[in-house]
């Protein structure tokens, strides 16, 4: 039931505007892949090309080894869950779910059986005779998933299916989707701009930006070792703080940087000789910095806002040169706005970016 997807050198244009360029991507059978990126990056377009709702201008797409980009959507063996769910408003839940099977001539009894089974799984069996207008947002979403399941497709495509749900329901549905994936073992592609969904659901995240794939990798790899400044910035909340680097000196543990607002910063990062030293920057995640106890020597930070989340607190402030900086502190943090605190960094968790945005990280054992 699950199949591999190969996307080879796919390009998509709308007139003179290129929205995707030379995309290559392989998805293993049963893999859960999330397309993550800002709006307009082409992630939905890529999904719709797999579904057959957009034409491929060049390149090929295969599913389970068979080329599908020349087939009409209904013949590709994929199912899709739309952001708006796109349920047929005039059909009942069971008609909605059975419509696709009816179209390919499945016997009514089999349709009935498969619809019931899917409805049981999704706990919507009691809703089968209702019309979509009589359903809540969460129920509609389940019906949309149910409609995909009954078709037993080779791959599931999700186009931001959780974005219309409220926060609590979104969290719960996320878990259920993960369970569903485990149970079905089906290949799934999930498009979102929400990094939490991406992090929690994906076997592999594909970050798209400006017509191309920025990085592919397991969620933690993406988070800890972002390939580019864009990825580093896009993944993680609050966003990574970036400090301009004015000088770089090699040292034994790694390079030491001259940073305008923070003085000399020692890092555990080794830079190659080819590293272009102009306009480099230093990236620090909030959890990789800490507030030092009074008296300890560190970088001064003027606190502007303290955001308390209960288990932890984020302290937003500016360094002496005016650069914004965020640091995480304990939930019981006593830091208050207007104070000046001193902060320190974990040298091995620092990221250095060259002027082109390429990232360099601490490498274990280097």
């Amino acid at each position: 039931m699950s199949a591999a997807i190969q996307i080879n050198d796919v390009t998509k244009r709308y007139g003179a505007l290129t929205v995707l360029e030379n995309i290559d991507l392989e998805i293993a059978p049963g893999e859960f892949v999330v397309f993550l990126g800002p709006s307009g990056c082409g992630k939905s377009t890529l999904l719709r090309m797999i579904a057959g709702l957009e034409a491929v201008d060049s390149g090929t797409i295969s599913l389970g080894g068979d080329r599908i980009d020349t087939l009409p959507p209904g013949k590709r063996g994929v199912a899709m869950v739309f952001q708006s769910y796109a349920l047929y408003p005039h059909m009942t839940v069971s008609q909605n779910m059975g419509f696709g099977l009816q179209n390919i001539g499945v016997a009514p009894r089999d349709i009935d059986r498969r619809v019931k089974a899917a409805a049981e799984t999704l706990e919507i069996a009691h809703l089968l005779d209702r019309k979509p207008a009589k359903l809540s947002g969460g129920q509609r979403q389940r019906v949309a998933i149910g409609r995909a399941i009954v078709k037993e497709p080779q791959a599931f495509l999700f186009d931001e299916p959780l974005s219309n749900l409220d926060a609590a329901l979104r969290g719960r549905t996320r878990l259920e989707l993960a369970q569903l994936h485990q149970r079905l073992g089906a290949t799934m592609i999930f498009v979102t701009h929400d990094q939490v969904e991406a992090m929690t659901l994906a076997d592999r995240i594909v970050i798209l930006n400006e017509r191309r794939i920025e990085q592919m990798g397991a969620p933690m790899e993406i988070y800890q070792r972002p390939a580019t400044k864009f990825v580093a910035q896009f993944v993680g909340t609050p966003a990574m703080s970036f400090l301009p680097v004015s000088g770089i000196e090699d040292g034994a543990r790694g390079v030491t940087l001259d940073v305008a607002g923070a003085g000399r910063v020692e890092t555990g990062v080794h830079l190659p000789a080819t590293f272009a030293r102009e306009n480099a920057s230093l990236g620090i995640r909030a959890e990789d910095a800490k507030v030092l106890t009074p008296g300890e020597d560190g970088v001064p930070l003027r606190v502007k806002v303290v955001e308390r989340l209960g288990d932890r607190a984020f302290i937003y402030g500016t360094l002496s040169d005016g650069t914004d900086f965020v640091v995480e502190d304990a939930g019981r943090s006593t830091v208050a706005a207007g104070q000046e605190v001193r902060i320190g960094f974990d040298p091995d968790a620092l990221h250095i970016f060259d002027s082109a945005g390429r990232a360099y990280h601490h490498t274990e054992g280097a």
Partner: protein, 291 residues
């Protein structure tokens, strides 16, 4: 080459073909055929002879046509504001959820479903001298009777009254629909701003339905320019042609005087007038989208 459902295909045009056949044969072709006729001296029974623009010269120099244009313009200029104004008034007055309001809405719309002959029959029987309802009322009040259908000025007025009575339903309904589209929170905000009823009407309600008011006005302009049945059946255009509209002029020239070429020329002129009104409608509706 990859496929997409949005691809352009000849076969898709099959959906349009049935309508297009009807459209081309019953609208486009007659339109051009009518233009051709207007360039000919031709009567009802054939025998066309090309005369160029002479029919247009005849129409444009015909005082009866001038009078018909004047009548029609006056009729439109008076009846349309009344229809829009009265429609707006009724919409505002009846925009409430009571049963009484629902009944009145139904009542005001009900005349729209009657056919023109019934409407004119009703109003002729109201307006006829001596025996009419108005004559009885006037006699009861001791007033000098008015020949509503036969006095210069009053005849067009009477046609207008019947027309407003007949047509008021649609503007009212369209404006009511627009009123009900105004979000309630706008009024809630106004209440918090302590706005008076009058200010709410002029500053919130009316501006919110302005596009619909304009739309209704243009629909009515286009419709009322086509005045025909009421005038023909109530006053036969009289007295002295003071209630003859353009369409009746066309009818008379073509089907009574057999002068098809002249009638065709007059209809082309009416076409241009209505085209201008329709362009106005297009202009208004596109302007609405920009806002």
């Amino acid at each position: 080459m990859a496929e997409s459902y949005r691809r352009s295909r000849w076969s898709h045009a099959l959906f349009v073909v049935p309508y297009l056949i009807v459209f081309l044969t019953l609208l486009v072709f007659p339109l051009f055929w009518g233009m051709w006729l207007s360039l000919n001296k031709v009567d009802l029974f054939g025998g066309a002879e090309f005369v160029g623009l002479r029919q247009y010269a005849r129409v444009l120099s015909d005082p009866v046509f001038h009078q018909a244009v004047r009548n029609t313009v006056i009729f439109v200029a008076v009846s349309v504001p009344v229809l829009v104004g009265l429609g707006l008034f009724l919409a505002l007055a009846l925009n409430r959820k009571t049963r009484g309001a629902a009944f009145l809405r139904g009542l005001y719309f009900s005349s729209t479903i009657l056919s023109v002959t019934i409407v004119t029959l009703i109003w002729r029987i109201v307006f006829i001298p001596n025996d009419g309802l108005m004559a009885l009322i006037f006699a009861g009040l001791g007033w000098e009777p008015i020949g509503f259908l036969s006095t210069k000025g009053w005849s067009l007025f009477s046609v207008g009254v019947a027309t407003v009575w007949w047509c008021i339903g649609l503007p009212m309904m369209l404006l009511l629909a627009a009123l009900q589209q105004i979000p309630a929170d706008l009024y809630e905000a106004a209440a918090l701003d302590n706005a008076s009823k009058g200010r709410i009407l002029t500053r919130i309600t009316l501006p919110s339905i302005k596009p619909t008011i304009m739309l209704v006005a243009v629909i009515q302009i286009v419709m009322q320019f086509q005045l025909f049945g009421q005038a023909l059946l109530m006053t036969n255009g009289g007295p002295a042609g003071t209630s003859r509209p353009i369409v009746m002029y066309i009818y008379e020239t073509a089907f009574i005087r057999w002068d098809v070429g002249l009638g065709a020329a007059a209809s082309e002129i009416l076409f241009v007038i209505i085209l201008c009104a329709a362009m106005l409608q297009y202009w208004i509706s596109t302007r609405k989208e920009e806002v």
